[in-house]
Subunit: 355 residues, 2 copies
């Protein structure tokens, strides 16, 4: 069997100067021939052909650093997400990447882990690399990010939470949460006869835009239903699984058992909630209604039914790209509708043929 890979060091990558030498043309002609500009620069079609042939033989590909330096744009496009380990954000990533590829751009996805310092560092880094535009999903401090981007003249769009410094595309959190709350109440009308006979919202950060909207909707719907919520029914304890687990345990302690209903505000919080709930007897669980803002295919099939809301990640990203394509600069705020997913439903993602 032949040795597949020799250890011979590859010769330096071919440049337009190499192709120029080989083809007898000048570097500027080669550049034009390999790019789009050969027509306007009146390079003979025959010349273009022969140059392209040689370039292909040499396995030429442009040095994007040089091109970027000259053209002051890189072909890179950035997106900031809080973390990779969450279905909603990975759905954003997947769509962001797909649309970027469609346009011949290279997506750079960075996760901030919701750290303001990290967030700024990432933006500064992406600016250093001259990304052509930036999508910001889940910034802790949108205004400061906008200021940074503006100072570098970098186009940016806020996704999932609105900023005051650039166009924004957000989920209709109020509508999604209102509808979810209604569904939970329809399932079991928790009129608050006792503290246990109530619906509790858990998880998220009340300072966050999305969470704030959802809490608002939660309050509105309960109030409309004639059962205005007690502040104790809203437990915005952050997104970390651990803390949600602690809080739901503490709640059960206070109540002397499971609450009548739980609206969990994020998948990560739900992971924690689950850690506690699953220690509970099955019949107790069945006596409870549970909802979760955000959809996860596995969470759809738990021991107890879970009403879920699927945010339209693909739609959010599509809208954001539309704004880039149409060069929208004003402070518009586009809403994208989320979708209610009934318990035990098989949902096919836009990348369902995936592996």
């Amino acid at each position: 069997m032949p040795k597949l890979f020799t250890m011979t060091r590859a010769p330096r990558k071919a440049t337009i100067y190499d192709i120029a030498r080989l083809s007898g043309a000048s570097p500027s002609t080669v550049s034009a021939a390999l790019g789009e500009s050969w027509r306007t620069r009146r390079i003979a079609e025959a010349t273009v052909e022969s140059i392209r042939k040689i370039a292909a033989e040499q396995g030429y590909s442009a040095n994007m650093q040089a091109r970027g330096l000259r053209k002051a744009r890189s072909g890179l496009v950035g997106m900031i997400i809080p973390l990779h380990d969450n279905r909603f954000f990975t759905a954003l990533s997947q769509s962001f990447e797909a649309f970027a590829r469609e346009r011949g751009l290279v997506p750079v996805i960075a996760s901030s882990l919701r750290e303001p310092v990290e967030e700024r560092r990432i933006v500064e880094t992406l600016i250093s690399y001259a990304v052509d535009f930036l999508f910001i999903a889940g910034a802790t401090d949108p205004d400061s990010v906008s200021a940074l981007c503006r100072s570098a003249d970098l186009r940016h769009i806020f996704v999932d939470l609105p900023g005051r410094g650039a166009p924004s595309v957000v989920s209709d959190n109020h509508k999604g949460a209102a509808e979810l709350t209604r569904r939970l109440l329809a399932d079991r009308p928790l009129r608050g006869g006792s503290a246990r006979d109530r619906l509790y919202l858990i998880g998220g950060d009340a300072g966050d835009y999305a969470t704030a909207r959802r809490i608002e909707a939660f309050r509105d719907v309960l109030t409309e239903a004639g059962i205005p919520p007690d502040p104790a029914q809203i437990i915005a304890c952050g997104y970390a699984p651990r803390s949600a687990m602690r809080e739901v345990a503490a709640l059960c302690d206070r109540l002397g058992g499971l609450p009548g209903g739980l609206l969990v505000n994020s998948l990560t919080a739900f992971e924690g909630v689950l850690g506690h709930l699953s220690g509970q007897p099955a019949e107790a669980l069945r006596a409870m209604v549970v909802g979760c803002y955000d959809y996860d295919p596995f969470a759809a099939w738990l021991q107890f039914p879970v009403h879920m809301v699927r945010q339209d990640a693909h739609g959010l990203i599509r809208e954001a790209y539309r704004m880039i394509d149409e060069n929208v600069r004003n402070l518009v705020l586009t809403m994208v509708e989320p979708e209610q997913i009934a318990p035990r439903t098989f949902y096919d993602s836009p990348f369902a043929d995936r592996g």
Copy 2:
């Protein structure tokens, strides 16, 4: 309230030439002062201080395209994964990113959707951007990727599946699957009295390295246990949820009911399996043992217990970085041990304080 953002176009970003002008020093001195080389270039500490002060005031940050062009490296590091929408791969992403940041590098993560053509395009693009090294997780054609990388003198490491053209770091799939199979058998010794009284492996591509190792282990353990498997017990129907759903439905049809046990070979396949299983009566489900290669926090709490295997994504990536750091060039293959996760277990990820 003051207008937060004026529409005044930002002045062009400051360069070392601007800083040079402002500080009275030469561009080369500025470059040295702002970098690491000022000591060896004998720039007076006082000069360095004053230049850095001015640079900070001007919000200077280096143009990475120019630097990259000159130094022939970019500070970008690439990783290819099949897709974002899967816990195992996102865990790889998260760790890849964390280690990159630690080293001051910018991670570029690209998903190939397991398309050979896309895969090559991605590698070529990353080469154009002069990424400093590349991790390849889940290539469809490792040898061809290696050839491409070698032609550009690009260091690369295979992760999760071994390549013949570069060092590899892989999970010990055989061990993980063997142990999982044993656990399933311990739970319910399926001796194959009838076709229903058997363990079935479903999902994955028998041509894939990981799947092949797992199938091997599955066979080995059953054979050891004195119940050599029938070929019909191995259904490598790919990774797509839809196809797993079809296949498991077909299997149940053939058997006239649920099989005694199911070892699902990937999370995406498991999503599909679930779509079918969940239509089944609860007591039928409880009569079955289920295992899944790969871990998902929600899958841990389904209606029926699921034995899972958690691959050590963090460990895989750590090893891969170690090889880069230590400049390993020979064709080593490092194994990282996966971990068995008992049903209904709360597992804390390395990024558990996340949001």
